[in-house]
Every structure is written in structure tokens, then in C-alpha cells.
Amino acid sequence: MTETTEKNMLLALFEDVDPAAHAVDKLRTLGLDNEHVNVISGTPITEAMLGRPHQKTNIPRMAMAGATGGLLVGIFFAFGTPALYPVYVGGQPLFAVPPSVVVMFELTMLGIMISTFLGVFLDSHFPSYGPKVYVPEISDGYIALLIDCPEEQEDEVKKAMTEVGAASVKYAEVQAL
């Protein structure tokens, strides 16, 4: 079940990076800058390849937060729990640094991993199964430029995209994923 977007957006499909990069330049000359264009691809096309600004991600910060959280849990396990529930084993000290390092290390790393994993979900808004602009050709290696342009400019954009080598230019359709 597909339908067009609420506001008609154009979807230009390119078989290769070079025409897609030219298309991004061309759109700029038509007054459509970065925030009017989205790129969707089946392989990681870096922003530099298309001359687009670097995407921001919060994942490194989340990983750091996870590391801190994990370390705190580790400290609690290693030093807090023996204080709350002291269990004396063979005259060994309740608070010993070397074995605690192992516990703190493992939980710090676990914190990094879980927060990085969840970071992908949060930053990418996963899971998100609702209708979105997409065509299956993208996972066949096509690069899609999703162009938000004023109605009066549509013909001009279509013509420009075809000229730089778009395999197809059509109205973007949303579909449930």
C-alpha cells in the first residue's frame, strides 16, 4: 500500500555516486540547499562523497554516559554490596582493589556496549514501522535523493535531475516498512 507524501516531494534515483553528487550540486544552483534534500542509499555513501554536511550523532556521548553508568554500577557491586551485606571469606578483606578492578572493568565495558546499541535506536528513532518514503530499489544499490521543492519548481528540478543522469524522477511515495 503506497501513497504520495502529504506535500509532493520528488524522489530521484541514481545508479552511481557521481551523478548523485552532480545532482546535489545542481540542486544547490537551483536554490535547494542541504535541508531540502535527503539522501537514502543501500550502501554507506559518506557525506563527503556527495559534498554534503557531516551528519551529527550522539552515539559517542551516549557511549561515554554508558561507561560512566557501568563504572558506577561496578563500584557499587565491588564496594557497595560488601558494605551492605558483609560476607567474610577465609579472613580475606571485604574491600580489595585488584578483584574489584575486574568487576568495574566488565561493567564499564557492558555500559559502553549497551548504551552504544541503544544509541543507534534512539538516534535513528528505531523501531519505526510507520509509512515512510522508500522504494525497494534503494537496497538494490540505487541512491535516492528525496527533494523537497516548491510546486512551481518541480518541472525544473525533474529536468535537471534527468540531465545529470537520474535513472528515474517521480513523486515520492510513502509505504509501510
Binding site: 537514502i40 554507506p44 552515539i59 568487576v103
Partner: protein
């Protein structure tokens, strides 16, 4: 002159063409196919299951029922007494197999994360096959640990839950370190398996119907491949690749500390950590080679993705790791032997000349002699079934190493009146069951999950090209990340 020059020039051009064609045939990343075609090949791998597949799956399923469910069930009812462990050999095959499976699990991380960090391009088509091994092997290690517990229903005592009995988890115990490290590794490796799978699940979603489409849609989480999604994924994978490596090292080091922190002859060694890690990588990489040979032989289209080049490189890796293992083994042996402690000397002599001496020699033959005598040869490395055999023998050798370390080394101690012997009981069927479960899980995964990370292969193909250096065609790799 012109008469002579013409055929010479033609021959030279032909040679150049041949060389370039050879390079492309050799290297998957220089032999691109359209993405749609590669997608179709990977989808084709997951469909069209033959009766042979189901026959093998049924046999494995029956072995799982007999080994894991029935035999373990009997042990739960009858008690740990039907296993072979008893004083002084209170750690038997369960612990041998725990170490064995954790060792195998190192393959995925080593191949996927370490080679990703070092940008070793040849890794691309088989990272997922190796990562799957990590997750499934850790599950088997879990079975062994729980079986070793005996009263498995009390496993929750390992969790730090306040309770009325005043039994509190002792985080100073190496067994708790194990619990934390193995669980951290299991969770991390499962997440590391899943993240790069998402774009391939989306690819599968776009090309399937019926229940498969529903499953892939749910698992793909709504992935489209926007710039933001790729950026988040790439960043996360980089963090995972760097962070999972110290976890990998820590897991097997902590497993080694289960032994090394005890003041027992032979176990109490400061080099046990790296010795165990290298041993784990040795068995793991050998197991990866075995799995890849089987996948290539049994799954359609796999011969496009897995080429003799991959076996050649894995063979070289195994040879180097074998040398590292031999170095650590000899280093440990030398210092313990030279130390002159009476009971250590007694035990070392028992290793070589006691009842289980043949296993000690088997260990050295399989882990050192066989790889060293064979893998220097390119033809052998590139021959999949020879490499499979060598990988199998290495895993036999690494199993033997763990057998020497655990039950054989427990048989001799500082109090001769407590020396004893070990005869395995229910441990054997449970291990056979776990081996079958590992194979069964892998077989089922090969029909549900895209075993080849297509997007990573295509990314690698985008980065590779052949350029001329003078007349010579040279492989060139660009750093696209």
C-alpha cells in the same frame, strides 16, 4: 622488425589482460556484480532447502534431545554424581568444554572486530559467519557452566539479589568474574552481530513475502538507509569494534584466572592469561576456516563470496597463531620445569608420561607439528578440504590442551594420598548434544539470516580498483570511511 614486434606486443597485452583477469578472479572485491544480483544470490542462499538439509537437521535435533535434554535431565534428577567428577578431579569435561566453547567464540570477535579495526579488507564476506559462531558458541559454553553447577535451579544465587539467607554474591570470586565477563561478552557479541545485520535485513524485507517479510520487517526496525542512519550505524560499529576487543581479551584471561589464582602446581602461572587468549584465538580461527569450508561447499552462490584467497589468508593466520601458541606453551613449560618445585615437576612428568601422556603428545602434534608442516604451503592453504582437516585437527589439539589443564592436572596434587583418576560420565552425551545444538543453530540461522553482509561487500568493492603502475596492474584500495 615490425613483423616481430607485433606478436610480441600482442602477447604482452594478452599477458597484462590475463594478470588483471587473475586478480579479479582471485579477489572478490575486484570482481563486483550489480548489487541487485548480489542481493538475489544472498536471498537464494536462504531459500530452496533440500531434503539433505532437513535430514541433517533432524539428526542434529535428535542428538540435542538426547544429549542436552534427556542426559542433562537425567543428571538433574539423579544428581551430579552420575558425572565423572569426584575428588580430587572436581572439574572435569564440563569445564574443559566451557573453555573449549569460549575459545571457539573468540573467532567472531577476532575476525570481525580486530580485522575491522585494522581495515583488513578480506574480512568482508565472512564477518557475519564468524560473528554467528561467537554467539552460538557462547550459548554452548553457558550450557556447560549450568550443567557443571549441578543444582542448576539455584543459578539465580549468582545474581546480586538481597535475600533472607544472608548469602551474598562474592564479587571477589573468580567465578563471579566469569559470570560477569561471559555475560558481557555474550550480550556485546549479540549486539555486534545484530547491528550490521540491520541493512541486510531491510534488503531481505524488500525481497520477501509472507512470514519472512513480517519477520524481516520487524527485525529491520524500519531501516531505510538515510544518511543519519548510516552515520549512527558506522559510529556504533567503530565503537563496538574497539570496545569488544578488550572484552574478548578479558573473557579468556578471566577464564584462565579460574585456574591461575589457585595455588596449585602448574595452574598458578602468571602467563596463563595470554596463553589462554592465544589458545582461544587458535581454536577459534581454525573453527572459522572449518565453517567457511562447509558453507562454501553446501550453500548455493557461496563460491562467489568465499574464494581460495580467503582460505589462503586464514591459513597464514592459523600458522602465525600456532607459532604464538607454541611460544606461550613453551614459555610456561620452561619456567615451571626450571622452577624445580617437586609437585610441579611430578605433575609435568605425569602430563607427558602418565596415563594421559598420549593426549599431551596429541596436543603438540595437532597444535604445532601439523600447522607448521603444512600451512607454509600455498597449495595446501588454498585447498578448502585440506584446510578444513587442519582446522579440525587444531581443534582436537586445543581440546586436548584443555583436557590436560583441567582433569589431568587435578589428578596430581601436593597430597599424594589424594591423587586420583577421572573417567567421564554424562559429560560426554551432554557435549555431543551441545555440539549438535551449535550445528543446528547455525543451520537454521543460515536459512533465516543473510550470511553474507552484502552492503559491506559492496562497500569493499566500491573501494577497490585496479590501476596501472607502468605496465603492471596493481590493486588499489581507497579508504571510504
Amino acid at each position: 622488425m615490425s613483423v616481430l614486434a607485433k606478436p610480441l606486443a600482442g602477447a604482452h597485452a594478452h599477458e597484462e589482460h590475463d594478470h588483471e583477469a587473475e586478480l579479479r578472479k582471485e579477489n572478490l572485491l575486484l570482481d563486483p556484480k550489480p548489487r541487485g544480483e548480489m542481493n538475489a544470490m544472498v536471498m537464494d542462499m536462504m531459500g530452496g532447502t533440500t531434503w539433505k538439509f532437513w535430514l541433517v537437521a533432524a539428526i542434529m535435533g535428535a542428538l540435542v534431545l538426547w544429549g542436552v535434554f534427556y542426559s542433562w535431565g537425567v543428571m538433574i534428577i539423579e544428581g551430579l554424581g552420575i558425572a565423572g567428577v569426584n575428588q580430587p578431579v572436581y572439574w572435569g569435561l564440563f569445564l574443559v568444554h566451557t573453555v573449549f566453547w569460549i575459545g571457539i567464540s573468540h573467532a567472531g570477535t577476532f575476525v570481525s572486530a580486530l580485522l575491522r579495526v585494522f581495515k583488513a579488507e578480506f574480512r568482508r564476506p565472512f564477518t557475519r559467519a564468524a560473528e554467528l559462531m561467537t554467539t552460538f558458541a557462547l550459548a554452548q559454553a553457558g550450557i556447560m557452566i549450568f550443567a557443571h553447577m549441578g543444582r542448576v535451579w539455584l543459578a539465580y544465587w549468582m545474581f546480586p539479589l538481597p535475600n533472607q539467607r544472608q548469602l551474598w554474591t562474592n564479587f571477589h570470586s573468580p567465578l563471579m568474574w566469569d559470570f560477569l565477563a561471559i555475560n558481557t561478552y555474550l550480550l556485546s557479541s549479540t549486539m555486534y552481530l545484530y547491528l550490521p545485520l540491520i541493512p541486510d535485513l531491510a534488503m531481505a524485507r524488500d525481497r520477501s513475502t509472507g512470514w519472512r517479510k513480517k519477520v524481516y520487517s520487524i527485525m529491520a526496525l524500519g531501516w531505510r538507509g538515510t544518511e543519519g542512519e548510516w552515520t549512527h550505524l558506522r559510529t556504533a560499529l567503530n565503537i563496538f569494534a574497539f570496545a569488544i576487543l578488550p572484552i574478548m581479551f578479558s573473557v579468556h584471561t578471566i577464564v584462565s584466572w579460574d585456574f591461575a589464582v589457585a595455588t596449585r602446581p602448574f595452574w598458578n602461572s602468571t602467563i596463563f592469561g595470554p596463553y589462554f587468549v592465544v589458545g582461544a584465538i587458535h581454536s577459534g580461527v581454525a573453527a572459522v576456516a572449518m565453517v567457511l569450508v562447509v558453507l562454501r561447499a553446501t550453500i548455493r552462490n557461496m563460491d562467489y563470496f568465499l574464494r581460495p584467497q580467503h582460505f589462503d589468508i586464514l591459513g597464514k593466520l592459523i600458522l602465525i597463531i600456532s607459532m604464538a601458541w607454541a611460544y606461550f606453551f613453551f614459555n610456561d613449560l620452561m619456567v615451571q620445569w626450571y622452577g624445580g618445585d617437586k609437585w610441579t615437576s611430578e605433575l609435568l612428568h605425569f602430563h607427558e608420561a602418565g596415563k594421559w601422556g598420549w593426549i599431551w603428545f596429541l596436543m603438540l602434534i595437532c597444535n604445532v607439528a601439523i600447522p607448521w608442516l603444512t600451512l607454509w604451503n600455498k597449495k595446501i592453504r588454498r585447498s578448502p578440504w585440506l584446510l578444513f582437516t587442519i582446522g579440525l585437527l587444531i581443534n582436537v589439539g586445543m581440546w586436548a590442551e584443555r583436557f590436560i589443564i583441567v582433569p589431568v592436572s587435578l589428578a596430581i596434587n601436593r597430597t599424594p594420598f589424594r591423587w586420583g583418576d577421572y573417567e567421564a560420565g554424562v559429560e560426554v552425551p551432554i557435549f555431543i548434544g551441545s555440539l549438535a545444538l551449535f550445528i543446528l543453530l547455525y543451520m537454521l540461522a543460515s536459512r533465516i539470516l543473510p550470511l553474507v553482509p552484502v552492503w559491506e561487500v559492496q562497500e569493499g568493492q566500491m573501494a577497490h580498483s585496479i590501476r596501472r603502475y607502468g605496465k603492471e596492474p596493481v590493486v588499489t584500495v581507497s579508504d571510504l570511511e
